[in-house]
């Protein structure tokens, strides 16, 4: 099977790739959002710890 034939999915391309594309996008975005949330949390905690230390 060649590549154009594979991508055509027996004329079902919009349905098959529409499914796989959206599933992949959701799963990737979920991970990216969680990593981003973690980064901002870590940043604010690091800032807070530094502030607390300079108080003493």
């Amino acid at each position: 099977m060649n590549l154009p034939e594979f991508l055509d999915m027996g004329h079902y391309a919009p349905y098959v790739w529409g499914s796989y594309g959206v599933v992949a996008a959701f799963m990737l975005v979920e991970v990216i959002l969680l990593v981003g949330k973690r980064r901002s949390l870590v940043k604010s905690i690091a800032r807070m710890t530094r502030l607390n230390r300079s108080d003493r």
Partner: protein, 254 residues
């Protein structure tokens, strides 16, 4: 370390102890997810032949069925955590329930989305109000309700109790989804895979579907642990152990 004592298991119910454990497990589950996804897609797109009736459109099954299974399974696990949290008042159980809900909602939506795109070429319609589809839609709304209720109540303990109650009432919907294809005359087909009968599909198709299911399962563990770690940091950012962890690493990756 004695694995058979209550104390050994109980220590993991403390967010402080669980936080580093979950951190170590995330890369493991992420690696498993990626490896299994590649294996599953190889079986699904290379080894599995086109269906004699549906052509290549049936390949949607390799993500549709795992997404639908996970949406139901996550709800049950979420409910169990919610009950544990309600009975023993363990904060971590409630946090786990909360961490699972968005991923469960995502899989419920993806099951409906992929189902619509599979329904169009095979049934001629994206949507019908059939028992299986409708009950899965209700599952999505139950997830939304659970998430919204937790977000609406400020006091974490009250939010936990109220949402746990909602989760327990809603769990009745899961067997309804599962058995809907038997109990009602549905456009949705019956199960091709079950514990009581032999699977009615080619081995390569079955392998692709099962491997993808395990991939989604590992993915769920990874993102739920990521979310619960964020939740722990948020709730305990003023505690000594968090400050200690981050002053050592100085904003590092730990």
């Amino acid at each position: 370390m004695n694995f058979f004592t209550k104390a050994f298991w109980l220590q993991f119910s403390s967010p402080k102890t669980f936080y580093p454990v979950a951190g170590k497990l995330i890369p493991v589950f992420m690696t498993v997810t990626i490896v299994l996804t590649f294996i599953g897609l190889y079986y699904g797109f290379v080894l599995a032949p086109p269906d004699y009736q549906q052509g290549d459109s049936y390949r949607i099954m390799f993500i549709h069925v795992p997404a639908a299974w996970m949406s139901m399974w996550i709800y049950i696990v979420m409910c169990i955590f919610a009950i544990i949290g309600m009975v023993w008042r363990t904060r971590l159980s409630d946090m786990m329930a909360g961490a699972l809900a968005p991923t469960g909602a995502m899989f419920a939506f993806l099951a409906l989305w992929t189902g619509a795109l599979w329904g169009k070429p095979t049934w001629g319609t994206y949507w019908v109000w059939d028992a299986r589809l409708t009950s899965e839609l209700i599952l999505l709304f139950l997830y939304f309700g659970f998430i919204a209720l937790r977000a609406a109540i400020d006091d974490p303990q009250r939010a936990a109790r109220a949402s746990a109650l909602l989760a327990c009432v809603g769990v009745i919907n899961v067997p309804i989804i599962y058995f809907s294809v038997k109990w009602w005359n549905t456009l949705h087909q019956g199960a091709s895979v079950g514990l009581t009968q032999k699977a009615t599909m080619a081995d390569s198709m079955l392998t692709a579907m099962m491997v993808m299911s395990f991939a989604f399962w590992a993915y769920t563990f990874a993102v739920a642990f990521m979310r619960v770690r964020n939740e722990i940091l948020e709730r305990e950012k003023n505690s000594a152990w968090v400050a200690e962890t981050f002053s050592q690493k100085e904003g590092g990756s730990k």
